[in-house]
């Protein structure tokens, strides 16, 4: 779990994603983007990347993480599974644009990703990752938890599959 948070909203989301992932049986580290040891990134099987919505794209710190700090592992994270989450100031304020900027980086690195069609409450879903408007509502935190669970489910399948292929 790598995230950037200016106001604490994305941090709360990160903790909810981690909670969902832990419930699904995973060991989870929640690390602020400033404090990531990039050389430990390849040790993990999956990632959830969170960013505030800044001008309809990821924050400078997240951008620097992908474009500079992690760049030596570009193309070397095959079969890692990653998802995204964000909080924006308003509905219609670029939250999905920001998810797409994170998904674009995930795909660019050669990682895997997936969508979540499920609704967590009437009118609240997470097709492209979890979103919140400002401080995350209960429903938004539910979306984060589900995102964490789904991430672990997908990571588990891929990890078991990699082991099975290696053994065959």
């Amino acid at each position: 779990m790598v995230y950037d948070s200016l106001t604490g909203n994305v941090e709360r989301m990160a903790r909810a994603v981690a909670e969902g992932a832990a419930e699904a049986g995973a060991e989870v580290d929640v690390v602020r983007v400033d404090e990531v040891d990039v050389d430990r990134v390849p040790e993990y099987d999956g990632y959830a990347f969170g960013s505030p919505t800044h001008c309809g794209t990821m924050s400078v710190k997240m951008n620097r993480f992908f474009n500079e700090r992690l760049i030596k592992y570009w193309g070397k994270l095959r079969y890692k599974v990653a998802v995204a989450f964000t909080s924006s100031g308003g509905l219609g304020g670029g939250n999905e644009m920001t998810l797409w900027s994170l998904i674009s980086a995930i795909i660019n690195y050669g990682m895997m990703t997936f969508g979540v069609p499920d609704y967590v409450a009437p009118g609240v879903t997470l097709h492209y990752g979890a979103v919140a408007i400002g401080a995350p509502s209960e429903a938004a935190l539910e979306a984060c938890k589900l995102l964490g669970r789904r991430l672990v489910e997908h990571v588990t399948v891929v990890k078991r599959g990699l082991r099975a292929v290696a053994e065959s």
Copy 2:
């Protein structure tokens, strides 16, 4: 104003955009996409395109409008100003992805577009066009009205500018 609506939500948004445009002094026609006479499209100075959010993109009818029916005017709508609006089933359910599919078509045709940074209510804005979650809330309808007003303001500037350039 060209729109497609399955459930009536986008239709209500279309009427609010039209209301905002009329308040700003424009003559407005609200036309369901099925009923558009494409040969009359070039007569207008600006457009607001509305679509339900279907699988994170515009509806089949809107897609056919841009990719087939209007295609003879592709590249011939320079200096027309256009914006987008949509209603999705849920927050995080692809509304901005759908706005982007409409904006992508607008730009592909060579038209102009613009964003609206203003907030119409706490936590509700329309940076890339107006969005609603299901049936449009009061705030979503305010966003539509503002979108209509801003469209007319931008169209007015471009139209006056074209006249001034032609006269010089």
Copy 3:
């Protein structure tokens, strides 16, 4: 493999993707979008979706495939792995925008996807799927073949993983 092709360019790409997939050991069906039996779609483990670039988005037929014909399986294709390819009239003419429209549908359905960082020739890669400018060049066809191989590799891992999880 589901594709739409107006001029035959995307069809040639589809055959190259299929060739790569077959070399990697998969059984492959190449089916024009008109002729897809949607009730057989869930039987497959992976998909490559190809579309011409029309106004910076997928074609009407591909749009109808996702938004109408396949819709009863929306949200029911979890753990399917899918990728995209397209041919556009020109460099800078919307090919990646079209890939994104396909990737957006893939994610919206809840499927998995991945990127391919590899270069197949100097200045030719397939980060978001294979692209061609007009008739596919040798390098573009190489990109298609690699996309097919990588798809089978990812599908194999996921399929083995699903079996291992089911057996445990």
Copy 4:
């Protein structure tokens, strides 16, 4: 004209955009993003933003420009007209994704933008802005020049329109 360039490719593109803009009669300043005096940005009527394609998005310096340095003018650049250009390492390597990240910022700020349907050579266009694969080819530089000309044409119309509206 604000740009970032690591290898000089985007810098060459910036000079071609400026050449096209100057031919169309505009006074142009070509400024590396590091050296922009942000308080002078509002004095200009139009902008062309150039960035290398880094992980399918704009560079860190361009991201910091929009998200931090220029942020005090966010929402205050209404009626400014802006376009984008980029060079990527490969075809299919994220150049349009990067254009979109720049267009997304332009729209988010509330500025105007537009597309260019014209082809500058067989198989080379600039629907969403000018793109080059590595070092810009002759055709890519032509696309840049045309982008500069079109920018000036659109800026001229908007500027004249603003004056006419103010005088009426």
